[in-house]
Structure formats: C-alpha cells, structure tokens
Subunit: 350 residues, 4 copies
C-alpha cells in the first residue's frame, strides 16, 4: 500500500477547502481501515466550507472533512472478529464512548463524549479512513456504492420519521434539502396519509414532487398555516422539521394539531419564540429533538428499507464528481440546484 493519500481538508481558519495529501491512517486494535469508494456532501460540509459561526466554534484545522461514505474494508485491527477484509460498509459517523449513562442505556446517539468524523477527527473526503469496527454496517446487497454513501443522512430522515407514529397520518416535511427530500420519500414508504412538503426553491419543489409529496407549499407564495388547515382540516398530525428556519419552525407550532407531534432535526441559528401556553401546553403536543441515528436501531431500519427496494434512491443522487473536483460540488450545493452530490476518491469511470 502506498504511504500517502489524497484528502480534502479545512487547512486553516477561513472560507474554502483544500485538496491535500496525508499519510494513510494507522489503525488500533478495535479499528478497521476503509478504502473510501464514495463520499457524499452534507450540508454540514458546506457550513465548514463557508466557515460559518458554528464551524468557527467547533472545527480545529487542519482536519479532513466529509462524513458520509461507502467503502471497502482493507485492514482489520487485531481484536476485530465480526468484519472481514473485502466487506462493503457504510459507517455511523458518531464515534461514541460506550461508557457514559447515555451509551450504557441504548442512547449512544446522545453520548456525552461524541466525536464526529469530518468534524472533530479526520473524515471521509479521503482515499482511506479508519473507523472503530463497531461503527461499520456491512452491506450485503448489490446496490451501487453511491447509494450506500447516503445511508447516513437517510438514517437522519428515518430517525425523524419513526420516533412518532405516522401510519395513515398527515405529515408535514418542512424544508426539502437532501434530508428533507429523503424524508418525503421515506414518509410515503412508511404509510403516511398525505405528505405535505414545505419548500421555497423550485428545483427542490420539483424533486419533492418526484419523490412522492402529495402537496407542496411554498411559503413565499402562500400562507403556510392557512393552507395546512385546508389540507388537513384539523391541523397536521406529525411535523418533521428539516429547515432550521426560525419562521418555518414558529409556523409549525401553529399548524400542528391538538395532540400532534413534532420531530425537530433542523438547526436554527437564532432563538425560537414560542407561545408555550397556547401552542404546546393547551394543545397537548409532543416534541422530540433528533440527533443523528439511533445506534444502531435506526441503521437496521435503514438497511431494511433499502433492501426491500421501496425507496427511490436513484432520484436523490443528482450529481457525481471525482474527489479532486469537489469545488464543482460545493458550487452546486451553494446554488441549491442539486439533490445529493457524491464524490469518488477513485475518480469517475465514464
């Protein structure tokens, strides 16, 4: 094996990312070395690229970015017995301690000591990555690795939509970025009654339609709250929030029905103001904060859904680039004219 590999790193504070070289990682006893086949770009990567306030507080350059990947195991730590060289895997991106109360009670997704690849430690926009063996989910199907790379964000969508019961219910998907788009598709696959997407961008409105949304509301063009009550009569049963938009979130508290449910994944940058008396207490609603994926309950669900073939993953991945052409991908992300974009460290065969 060669000694150095290509990586995309946040080299120093400030905007942008850099194509660079790093030594191939050495693994410890409980880790595996993974050859990255495909790595998709997440909104978080865009934040890091743009060096927003969150990035400035969290990222310590230099660090290799990227955290959504499909890869092949090429080396095993000496304690690893459940994986094999040659296994095709997707990976959980939260590296957790296993020792805090949350980890010990089946809530590793909110571990007190989480480290995230591509954020806190070196990530997936690289030819190789090391991972704890326990973070790997072996893929036994023949599906294209580009789809395997997006199982991690798909897990966010599945986690958001499976905390509360959506069978036969009216579900609002607020925000149709890539995770919201996947959520539209997942909600239909899990038996929702009416899937109502909220989105302003025309490109993504079209994607939401293609992925199965029954109704799409553009808040720039019409009154979301009013329309929600027209579509549902008594308000929305379950709100799945992916936008992080202050106005969108505050509106959702108005159109969720008596006894309705809200799963919140989007990350608002500003405080939210709530009429708690009227919109939470007297309505008797439930609210759930969604962090990552249940480890690994959500992953088994995701793999089950993918294996059953009910999702339209092919409509979600819209662009593919060689790793070194990452700038093109980030440009598209900025413009919002894309679904999921996948990078290939081994290049693209056309």
């Amino acid at each position: 094996m060669k000694e150095f590999m290509n990586v995309i790193i946040k080299e120093t504070e400030g905007e942008g990312l850099t194509l660079s070289k790093k030594p191939i990682p050495e693994i410890s006893d409980n880790e595996v070395l993974i050859k990255v086949i495909a790595a998709s770009i997440c909104g978080t990567d865009k934040h890091i690229y743009e060096w927003d306030e969150w990035s400035q507080n969290r990222i310590k350059p230099p660090v290799t970015v990227g955290h959504e990947l499909a890869g092949e195991i090429v080396m095993l730590g000496k304690n690893v017995v459940t994986l094999n060289v040659g296994d095709i895997v997707s990976v959980e991106t939260h590296i957790v301690c296993g020792e805090c109360e949350q980890c010990r009670t089946g809530n590793g997704h909110i571990c007190q000591n989480t480290e995230i690849i591509g954020v806190d430690v070196d990530g997936a926009f690289a030819e190789y990555i090391k991972m704890p063996a326990s973070n790997c989910m072996v893929n036994k199907t023949k599906i294209d690795p580009k789809y395997i790379s997006i199982l991690e964000p798909l897990g966010n969508a599945v986690h958001t939509l499976t905390h509360f019961d959506i069978v036969g219910k009216n579900v609002a998907i607020v925000g149709c970025g890539p995770i919201g788009l996947m959520a539209v598709n997942v909600a239909k696959a899990l038996g929702a009654k009416k899937v109502i997407a909220v989105e302003v961008d025309e490109y993504r409105i079209q994607m939401a339609k293609d992925l199965g949304a029954d109704v799409i509301i553009n808040p720039v063009k019409e009154d979301v709250i009013k329309r929600m009550f027209i579509e549902t009569e008594n308000g929305v049963d379950v709100v799945a929030e992916f936008s992080g938009n202050k106005n969108a979130i505050e509106a959702a508290f108005k159109y969720v029905k008596l006894g309705g449910k809200m799963s919140l994944l989007g990350i608002p940058s500003k405080n939210i103001e709530i009429d708690l008396a009227k919109d939470v207490v007297f309505k008797g609603i439930e609210i759930y904060g969604v962090v990552g994926r249940l480890m690994y309950d959500t992953w088994y669900k995701v793999v089950g859904l993918v294996e059953s073939g009910v999702l339209d993953l092919d409509k979600i991945v819209t662009h593919e680039f060689a790793l070194e052409d990452f700038e093109e991908g980030f440009k598209l992300m900025k413009e919002g004219k894309c679904g999921k974009i996948v990078l290939f460290p081994g290049g693209i065969n056309e």
Copy 2:
C-alpha cells in the same frame, strides 16, 4: 319507505343460512339507519353457516348475519349531530358499552359488554341496518363501496401490524385467508423489509404473491422453521398470526427471533402447547392478542392508508354477487378459491 326488507338469517340451529324478510329496523335517539350498499363475507360468517362449535355456543337464532358493510345513511336519531343523511359510511362492528373500565380508558375493542352485529344482534346481510352513530366512519373519497365494505377486516390486518414496529423488519404473515392477504399488502405499504407468507393453498399463494409477499412458504412442502431461519438469518422479527392453526402457531414460537414480537389474531380451536421457558422467557419476546380494531385509532389509520392509495384493494376483492345469491359466495369460501367476496343487497348491475 317500504316496511319489509330482504335479509340473510340463521333461522334455526344447524347448518345453512336462509333468505328471508324482516321489518326495516327502527332507530333510537343515538342511532342511524343505514341502507346497505355492499356487504362482504367474513370467515366468521362461514363458521355461522357451518354451525361449528363456536357458533353453537354464541349464536341465538334467528339473527341476521353479516358484519362488514358499506352503506348510505338514510335516517338520523334525534341526538345525532355529526352525521348527515346521504353520508357513505363503513361501520365498526363492535357495539360497546362506553361505561366499563376498558371503554373509559381508550380500550373499547375489549369492552366487557361488547355486542357484535351479525353475531349477537342483527347484521349487515340485509337491505337496511341500524347502528349507533358513534360506530360510523364517514367516507370522503370516491372509492367504490365494495372496497369500503372491506375496511373492517382491513382494520384487523392494520391493528395486527401496527401494534409492534415493523419498519425495516422481517415480518411473517401466517395464514393467507382474506385478512392475511390484506396483511401482506399492508406490511409492504408500511415499510417491512421482507414479508414472508405462510400458506398451503395454491390459489391464495398466488394472491399473496400478487399482493407483494417477498417469500411464500408452504408448510406442506417444506420445513417452515428451517426456511424461516434461512430467509432471516436470526429468526423472524415480527410474527402476525392469522391462521389459528395449532401447528402453525407452535412453529411460530420456534422461528421468532430473540426479542421478537408476535401479534395473534387467528383463533385456534385447540389448546396450544408452549415451551414457555425456552421460547418465551429466555427469548425475551412479546406477545399481543389482537381483538377487532382499536376504537377508533385503527380506523383512522385504515382510512388514511386507503385515502393515500397505497393498498391494492382491487386485488383483494375477487367476487361479487347479489345478496340473494349468497349461496354461491359461501360455496367459494368453502373451497378457498377466493379473496374477498362482496354481496350487494341492491343487486349487481352488469
């Protein structure tokens, strides 16, 4: 309105049913009168026809049979304010007291004082039926009444499959009579991973395939337990039991996985023998007895699923007859060469 109507009754003890006349029912203040448009035949009706042991203990002739129906409201009791003449409805067939602890805690489906139409009181194989207003579910779609008549047994399937989480999970559907067949279709619509049907009859095996079963095991031809482990590796996640067959149920306790779940709707006529230590306690499984439909949580789910258009109701109804030709329907039921059979008190327009 005329005074007498056609009905199919169990006239006296013994086999068979009889076409007869009865006065059109009078309604009380909280009831409505429904003109029956379509009424489907249930396995229970077949038991009553055949006058099996259960029927002998439960049925007090003469009684009008039939309990799955679609109809139009033609008269309202004076206290009824939430329904209108002309509403097309399906009906919950359990008339419950509303006053026992079960009813008062949201568990009306296991009311201590349940009366079932077509069993304990006059039923749906008739031109008219009276029902408590609260038992009616108004249908707001344009779907064919023959499908509305089967929402009640569809509710059994939905209740059975929604008590435990089936998202991304391997689900065994044991027994492909009409409710089992609907369950195959529902399981796929709710995001099950692999739907494995167990059935012996070739006609129904074919229907299960058409309705989406991924795997079908014929226990006459192969070892069910062995095959289940081949298909699932570690055993079945969720068993949905519709057969009531002693051997089939006892086998299910063997192939359900560690921590697996069992929803039991089928009614065995013999005692079941269980190695409780090995197959329940040490496995840490959960078992749920399914009675009817949650009132009315399951109904809202059923209506939501039907309105979203994800079910193949058209593949489930296989035969239609005028009410007076009921004998042809029961003959088919006996032979098992049918899905759901629907009777029309108003005759068939061809």
Copy 3:
C-alpha cells in the same frame, strides 16, 4: 327539594366573586344531579377572581365558578344505568364532545369542543351541580370528602408525572403551588430517585419538605442551573413544570440532561425563548404538553394511588371554610400561605 341554592358566581366583569342564589339545575337524560359536599379552590379560580387577561377573554359572566368537587348523587337522568343515587363521586371537569377525532382516539383531554365547569358552564361552588354521568368517578373508599374534592388537581400531577418514566430517576418539580406540592408527593410514591423542588415561597418550601422533597432550590437565593448539576451530575432526567414562570421554564431547558424529558403543565403568560438547536435538538430531549387528565386513564391511576394509601393527602389540605366564607380562602390563596383550601356548601361542623 328546595328550588334555589347558594352559589359563588362571577357576576359581572371585573375583580371579585359574589355569593348569590340560583335555581337548582335541571338534568337531561344522560346527566346526574350532584349535591356538592366539598369543593376546593384552584389557581384558576383565583385568576377568575382577579379577572386577569385570560379570564377576560374566556369567562362570560354570570357563571358559577369552582370545578374541584366531591359530592353525592341525588338524581339520575333516565339513561343513566351505571351510577346510583347515594354514590359519592369526584368528577372530571372537562365536558367533552365524544365525537371529534381526539375524543374517538382516546384523547378526550384535548377534545376540540371541551367545556370546563366553573369556566364555560356553571361550576362547583354551589350546593348542587349537574354533570354528564360519564364524568363521574365513584369513590368506594371511606376517605374524607375533602380529599375526594382534590382528586381532580391530583390528577394533573399524576398525568404530568406518568407520561415519562420516572422510576429511579432524578425529577425536578418546578413550582410548588398546590399541584406542584402534590407532584412532590406523587413522585416519591412512584419511585423517583431524587425529587428536587424549585420554589421561592418559604411556606411552600416547608410544605414541599414535609411532602418528601429530597432537595429544594430557591432561585432567589441560588443559581438553579448550577445547583441542579451539582445534585444530579449530568442534569435532570425529568422536569415537571408547574410554575408557568418564564425564567423558570427557560432555566429548565438548560438543566435537563441529554435525552431528558419535560412535562409542561404551568401556563406562562409570556412567550418563551428557546435555543432550540442547543437545548432541544442537540440534546435529543422530549417535551410533552399536559392538558387536564387522560380520560379516564389518569383517573384510574389517581384512584388506585389514593386507595393504596401511599399519598399524604392530609398534608396537602391546609384550610377549610364554609362556602359563604370563600373570601377568606381567596385571601389566603393570594398570600400563598396555604396548601389546598376546601369550601363546604353545607358549612363546617366543629
């Protein structure tokens, strides 16, 4: 029976309540007439007395106030078969429609058409009150009616503390008004680990101690957030909010732990500002708005707890007055120097 009875009414808009006379109510077919034995004063009654903003929007004078009562059934509507003259009852104060989706799915507590006695219709500070039969919970024990009158607010406390699991967990009781005080006692009776009460008033701090609080934090004297982390190491498992205080609620979002739970009953008069990203989403918490009592699941729990004798109801009722001496009770309420105050329409025998 005499024709007129003593009542305490909100006669006109503005502060205060008035002792007056009204005809004894006439009952309809599904109602019962109850002779009120004891009626306790709720914080809501105080709001109505004071004619606060909420009252001005909701109350239409003249109306008899009061909604927490114990009474004896003295007359039955003709359809009432499950109650008897002479039954001692407590009553659910929400009169619900039974016909909306919430009512039909076991969520009557958030009925779309709720009417509350003593608020929307005539209430319990009266010699007699009419109630739907289905709102009555018969009491079969020998406990003093003054305790039966407080089962309704006790139900609020039980509802708040049983939505989330508190067994072996650190529970914060925020606000020790009468319901908060009951919650302290209930939390201990249900196996909480450490019950931490938050309260500023010395009289109520002492009551909280007597009712079993392990720790009491006075936010005027110390930093609540800091102290909560000292007491719990990683934050509070379950927050039960009864204060409705903006600062107290916002602080709770800071000290609830990763994956913690919040049950909110207190009614803030101002909007609440939340760092949703940091304190809800990234923490993965769950929030539940508590309305009244689950109908009637919570009531069965309350009755079960009272019958088992594990609660210290005697410490909760601190004052008793004849109905006509209601002004003394409201004066004490204003000063906060009381637990629960009970009024007796039949006077007090000393």
Copy 4:
C-alpha cells in the same frame, strides 16, 4: 497479592459443591479484578448444587459458581479508564458480545452469545473474580455490601415490574422466592394499587406480608382464580410471574383481566398449555418474557431506587455465612426458610 484463592466449585458431574483453591484470575486489557466482599446465593446456584436437568445440560465442570456479588476493584486492565481501584461495585452477570444485532440495538440482555458468570465461566463464590469493566456498576452510597450483592436479582424484579405500567394498578406477584419477595417490595415502591402475592410456604407468606403485600393467596388453601376476581372485581391488571409453576402460570392466564399484562420470569420445567383463543386473543392481553436486566437501563433504575431509600433491603437478607460455610446456606435454601442468604469470602466479623 497471594497466588491462590478459596472458591466454591462444581467439581464434577453430580450433586453438591466443593470448597477448593484456584489461582487468582489474570485480567485482560478491558477487564478489572474484583475482590469479592459479599456474594449471595441464587435459586440457580441451588439448581447447580442439586445437578438438575438444566444444570446437566448447561454446566461444564469444573466451574466456580455464584453470580451475585459486591466487591472492590483491586486491579485495572490497561484500557480501563472509567473505573478506579477502590471502587465498590455490583456487577451485571451476563457477559455479552456487543456485536450481534440484539447488542447493537440496546438489547444486550438477549445477546446471541451471552456467557453467564458462575454458569458458563468462573463466578463469584470466590475471593476474587475478573469482569469486563463495562459490567461494573459503581456504588456511591454507604450501604452495606451485603445489600449491594443482591442488586442483581433485585434488577430481575425491577425489570419484571417496569416493562408494563403498574401505577395505581392491581398487581399479582406469583411465587415468593427471593425475587418474588423483592418484587412485592418494589411493586409497593412504584405505586401499585393492590399487591396480591401468591405463595404456599408459610415462612415466605410472612415475609411477603412484612414486605408490603396487601393480600396473600395460598393456592393450597383456596381457589386462586376465584379469589383474584373477588380482590380485583374484573381481574388482575398486571401479573408478574416468578414461580415457574405450571399450574400457577396456567391459572394466571385465567385471572388476568381483559387487556391485562403478564411479565414472565419464572422458568417452568414443563410445557404450558394455553387456551390461546379465549385467554390471549379474545382478551387482548400482552405477554413479555423477562431475561435478566436491561443493560443497563434496569441497573440505573435499581441504583436509583436503592439510593432513594424506598426499599426494605434489610428485610430481604435473612442469613449471612462465611464462604466456607456455604453448606449451611444451601441447606436453608432447600428448606425454604430464608430470604436472601449472603456468603462472605472474607469471613464474618461478629
């Protein structure tokens, strides 16, 4: 440290146990060495002593028996960072793989590859024992180690009683061996309404009374089913089964109420015969097989309950012996004239 230690072993096939010597265990990187302070005798140990059918199939002599212990950590494997030498611990006795689907989804208690100390690998009737660090629960209170040694079986009782809601409910505790006795005490501490114990032995009937049972039924002296309905009116809400007795279990299916719940921990040696139609399906009940303790959710609950001081642990431990006097303990176990018996490898100071 000395090289050899005292142990109680099953030396060869056949009845009895033997005091012997073994080398002090060597620990691996993720393990700790624990000096055993107290170790209590479980019913399982008695089965191994008596060499019953289960033991003959499971135990491979020679093996050190015993699995309920309190100890002090005296040595740390090099990877262990969350424990300290000097920590007083209780231990989870299931050593699980961490890699199977059950382990990865928070269900380690039903791990596919469980090894139990004192059964499959060397156990706690010894001066020292090695354990995976992750199996240790540090005790931060000052409670006597003899009580810490019984937290493991107490966890069985807590697991059994917390799967279903028992707040304000009638709970049957079937079988008052040590775990059943603890369950009586736990049920009272968690807010059960009426705790009804079923037991034949007079010594244990007396203990059940002392630990809080409201009613005790001796099936030798009266008809259990009939009495249960007298005590509860409509049947028992929650059955907690600890006897493993075929008749007792079959009776429980008769007296559990419509919609009731059954948690089964006792291990019957014979098959159970159930009228599944009448007693499970039509009743709409739920059944749960209880294996060990949820890892580690149940442990946190147990520790919380013990720290809150609501349990009467002092009434549960009835006898103490030096390790070498184990024969006296097993004699008492055989006679049933005991609660929990604790052995002390360091002898007894009197």
